[in-house]
């Protein structure tokens, strides 16, 4: 089997290749159950103002930080300055250098502003952050981000929360061949087959939030994603057959009666 190496990002080894977001669950209890069912070892969180009337939200009361590594994001940031500010606050809140870096370019698509993303990646990497940038499915930008000091690249499969799956598997494949780096599909995964496809392409991991949290039964979908990621990885390692236009018999022709 090929590519048996482990998933290591920022010096941390992960057994599970599924990273899970903590947004949009109906309750904190449902979120905790979904994390458990997913088998994940890293969860994303957002950084927001504490509500002075209600006190700090207590999300971490539902997340065992010994079991799950916390990955703060810079979601909602539309400029380099904002992304840097949120990253630095996230580092202080979580006492970890990991940051899922988002610099968003447009409200309707939530596509990344790759120019800003590149600048922010370079600055944060120099400050000692382990930068995991959410980027386009663009192989050239993936290379630029790695050159700027990113710890991995996280191309989108489709727009955040869209559930459209891997819209351009060929670009993801080219990214995998272009950069000698960890590649994590982030955003767009809507159901188990999308996650499996990402892994069959050779991606190192998948990051899912809405695909799990928005499912009718989030906990069951979390389990489905866990199995899909494992199945996709195994299929990639096993090496699939090539596609052919015509049939090839599975049963021998020798020994037939006529």
């Amino acid at each position: 089997m090929k590519n048996r190496e482990k998933l290591i990002v920022g010096g941390v080894e992960f057994t599970s290749r599924l990273w899970v977001g903590t947004g949009k669950y109906r309750t904190n209890e449902e979120m905790a159950a979904a994390l458990e069912a997913s088998g994940t070892e890293m969860v994303t969180v957002a950084v927001r103002r504490v509500d002075l009337k209600r006190g700090s939200g207590g999300l971490l009361d539902y997340i065992d930080t010994k079991r799950y590594r916390i990955l703060p994001n810079t979601a909602g940031c539309y400029s380099v300055e904002d992304a840097l500010r949120y990253a630095r606050l996230g580092r202080e809140a979580g006492l970890s250098d990991f940051i899922k870096l988002e610099v968003i370019g447009d409200e309707r698509t939530l596509f990344p502003d790759v120019m800003g993303l590149l600048t922010a990646t370079e600055i944060l990497a120099k400050e000692g952050f382990i930068v995991l940038p959410y980027t386009n499915d663009d192989p050239i930008m993936a290379k630029r981000l790695m050159d700027a000091g990113a710890a991995c690249v996280m191309p989108l499969g489709a727009p955040i929360g869209s559930g459209l799956g891997i819209r351009n598997p060929y670009n993801i494949k080219i990214i995998l061949e272009t950069v000698d780096a960890t590649v994590v599909v982030d955003a767009g995964v809507g159901t188990a087959s999308d996650a499996a496809l990402a892994m069959e392409l050779g991606c190192d991991a998948v990051l899912i939030n809405t695909g799990i949290a928005g499912a009718e039964d989030a906990v069951s979908m979390a389990a489905a994603m866990k199995h899909a990621v494992m199945a996709g990885r195994l299929a990639y390692q096993a090496g699939r057959i090539s596609k052919k236009l015509y049939a090839t018999a599975s049963s021998p022709l020798e020994g037939m009666l006529l």
Partner: protein, 65 residues
């Protein structure tokens, strides 16, 4: 003393970041504090002084993707 905390103007007697967190009933655990755009390290909370008209941001983690 008047402070702007998370966008709200409040009256406070806190002389340090730590006293402000106590006054507001916020557990110092997983929060990050910024005073006038500067992130204040947790170890500095007990000693970092607050002054009239300071702008303070107190953030923590919420669910996100």
């Amino acid at each position: 003393m008047k402070l702007t905390v998370n966008g709200e103007e409040i009256d406070s007697r806190a002389k340090t970041v730590q006293e402000l967190l106590l006054e507001l009933g916020i557990k110092p655990g997983a929060v990050a504090v910024e005073v006038n755009l500067k992130v204040i390290k947790r170890a500095e909370h007990p000693v970092y002084p607050l002054s009239e008209r300071d702008t303070v941001e107190i953030v923590s983690f919420v669910g996100g993707g």
